[in-house]
């Protein structure tokens, strides 16, 4: 992957008393999308999530960075340079921009879509094509298959990934992402989030990320700015701090009563020590596998394909006493988890599928280990902290309900 070698760097983004008022004649503070005296600094190479209810000014704040919206007053400094002093098209070509509906050009192929900014910058054709192929590979879409397709021929998740690739094309130091994974179903979203975190580990760009989903904010953000209506930032800090010590009742309410569960979003599958499964590959000898699985307390054999990708579980009684193993023997499957999957998502998938263990795979889909509900619960107990902000009465009920359901399912196996 040569993306990091392309020479990009991250930039700091600083909002300096930025205000946006709509309706110049009769300014009203409460107008949806207005922003009131916003000051915050995002360090280079970090993901800052702007989160809040709709109309709270988070998207307005984002769009003031690439000047799709001009501030009424205040400055936005990018690496110390006031964005307002820069040529607007130059500025925008240096800032990656990803939106919820992707905004891919329907009349251009995926390859051309990804090469949009390089083309605007006048890169040689050959270099545009190479860059486009490199990025498609980075987001896991085979260039020979995808470069020539049109957006309408891709799934929603694939289009969102292309949107990210397009934003990365000219290697911008800053990326603006407006609900970039908002238009896909939860499982695809979880996958896209993990994939994006993997890419960000390599590229370390400065990212402003807008979402209304507090779980996404906690998962994606190095820092989180919680917006209240009218573009006021109620709290700005690392996700753990926002969960452990909400700065106000608004934040506590927005974060929700189930902060115990939400803390699960702070932890990743990566934070657990994975448990091993008894595994065998397609074509392996049944007798030997049968002996091993019978010796293991967990009564299932995990069958893998030639690339170590899990196919599914075989009950120990269904493992043939002789002959090779094959895919038709599989009785059941488990949800596949990534090491970046949050424990909240992992637990949710395990409960949804009523299974005892999730299979952790790497980004090529190869088997890494198992995560069990017990392991998640044990990790929770180890890191438990008392909530510091008093919850109001009805919220206590919610919390009690959440806790009860978690305990009862955990004791099920």
């Amino acid at each position: 992957m040569t993306a990091t070698e392309a020479g990009g760097h991250a930039a700091t983004v600083e909002f300096d008393h930025v205000t946006k008022v709509y309706g110049a004649q009769a300014p009203k503070r409460g107008t949806p999308g207005a922003v009131n005296d916003l000051s915050l600094t995002v360090a280079a190479g970090r993901i800052c999530v702007l989160v809040g209810p709709s109309g709270c000014g988070k998207t307005t704040s984002l769009k003031m960075v690439n000047r799709l919206i001009e501030p009424t007053s205040g400055r936005i400094l990018l690496d110390g340079v006031d964005a307002a002093t820069r040529d607007v098209t130059d500025l925008r070509r240096g800032i990656g921009y990803v939106i919820q509906q992707t905004g891919l050009f329907p009349h251009q192929t995926i390859g051309d879509n990804v090469a949009t900014v390089p083309r605007l910058l006048g890169w040689p054709k050959q270099r545009q094509r190479e860059r486009s192929e490199e990025l498609l590979a980075l987001i896991g879409l085979e260039p020979t298959t995808y470069a020539g397709r049109y957006p309408a021929q891709l799934s929603g998740g694939e289009r969102q990934r292309v949107g990210v690739a397009r934003a990365l094309a000219a290697d911008p130091p800053i990326m603006l992402m407006d609900e970039p994974f908002g238009a896909v179903d939860p499982i695809v979203r979880e996958h896209l989030q993990n994939e994006f975190l993997r890419i960000q580990e390599q590229l370390a760009r400065t990212i402003l990320f807008v979402t209304h989903d507090i779980d996404e904010a906690i998962k994606m953000g190095d820092v989180v700015a919680v917006f209240r209506g009218g573009g006021v930032v109620e709290q700005f800090g690392p996700p753990a701090e926002i969960l452990a010590a909400p700065a106000s009742e608004f934040v506590a309410r927005f974060v929700g009563a189930d902060r115990g569960l939400k803390r699960l979003s702070l932890m990743r599958v990566n934070d657990l020590s994975l448990e091993p499964a008894v595994t065998a590959h397609v074509g392996d000898d049944g007798a030997e596998a049968r002996r091993r699985v019978r010796a293991d307390p967990f009564q299932y054999l995990l069958l893998l394909d030639a690339s170590h990708r899990p196919i599914g579980w075989i009950d120990q009684n269904h493992v043939p006493a002789s002959g090779p193993l094959h895919a038709d023997l599989v009785d059941s499957t488990s949800p596949l988890l990534d090491r970046r999957t949050t424990l909240k998502d992992a637990l949710s998938m395990l409960l949804d599928d009523l299974v005892q263990a999730g299979v952790v795979v790497d980004h090529q889909g190869a088997y890494r280990g198992l995560v069990t509900i017990e392991a998640v619960m044990a990790r929770m107990r180890d890191t438990a902290v008392e909530p510091e902000f008093p919850a109001t009465a009805p919220e206590v009920d919610d919390q009690a309900v959440a806790a009860t359901s978690a305990t009862s399912t955990a004791s099920r196996p």
């Binding site: 607007v88 919820q100 905004g103 009349h107 957006p151 021929q153 603006l176």
Partner: protein, 230 residues
């Protein structure tokens, strides 16, 4: 009832009238499109110009064609201009409406993405909006072509030198000779259908992105939306 022998004797004349028909229609469509495109761009950029532009084009469209040809004769004589001006004016409403509708149909998020990535406005219009407006623009060209090919026959009212295939219709009517009327009318209809089919093919080639290609995209919501917008 139909005098096939007469038809056989007049095939050469049919060919030259057919060429004239196409020529008259093509001039009207080309000039009409160029004028309409300018007006439509103006209306897209300055929205408040759109209602007056369509109002004027709409009023012109309501003038009976025979009356418009007749009204022009004292001014422009029995010239090509007299034949073309009404034909051109009748295309304006169809073209302007469809071109504006084409630009309006460009998804807002595509425009936002283009702006966000640093497209200057003019480039955005030519490289992003215009290609996406093509399906509706071509739809307008199809309607205008069929209607203009029909109207060219009426230009025969201003004299033998015009009218294309309409010449036979006027002649046949004057002489009470149904064969000659059909000799003009049927080829004019066939011509309209053929031109329409050619335009459909042109649009298919010009917008490969708007058609599902292969089974893999069956049922994809965006594909069906793109097709529906055609």
């Amino acid at each position: 009832m139909i005098d096939w022998g007469w038809m056989g004797d007049h095939v050469d004349e049919l060919a030259s009238r057919l060429v004239q028909h196409l020529y008259l229609a093509l001039i009207a469509l080309t000039v009409g499109f160029v004028i309409s495109f300018g007006l439509a761009i103006l209306a897209v950029r300055r929205r408040r110009l759109y209602p007056p532009v369509t109002a004027v084009a709409g009023i012109l469209y309501t003038i009976p064609s025979l009356a418009m040809f007749a009204a022009l004769v004292p001014i422009t004589g029995l010239s090509l201009l007299t034949a073309e001006v009404p034909l051109i004016l009748y295309t304006l409403l169809i073209f302007v409406r469809n071109i504006v509708a084409g630009f309006d149909a460009v998804p807002a998020e595509v425009i936002e993405a283009a702006d966000g990535m640093g497209y200057p406005r003019g480039l955005r219009m030519w490289r992003v909006e215009l290609p996406l407006a093509v399906p509706l623009i071509v739809a307008g060209v199809r309607v205008a072509s069929v209607s203009t090919i029909g109207l060219v026959t009426v230009s025969g009212a201003i004299g033998d030198r015009f009218g294309g295939l309409g010449f036979f219709i006027f002649e046949g009517y004057r002489r009470g000779f149904p064969t000659e009327i059909l000799f003009g009318a049927v080829p004019a209809m066939v011509l309209a259908v053929v031109v329409d089919l050619v335009l459909v093919a042109v649009q298919r080639r010009a917008t490969p992105w708007s058609q599902p290609v292969g089974a893999a995209v069956q049922g994809d919501s965006v594909t069906s939306r793109a097709v529906a917008s055609v």
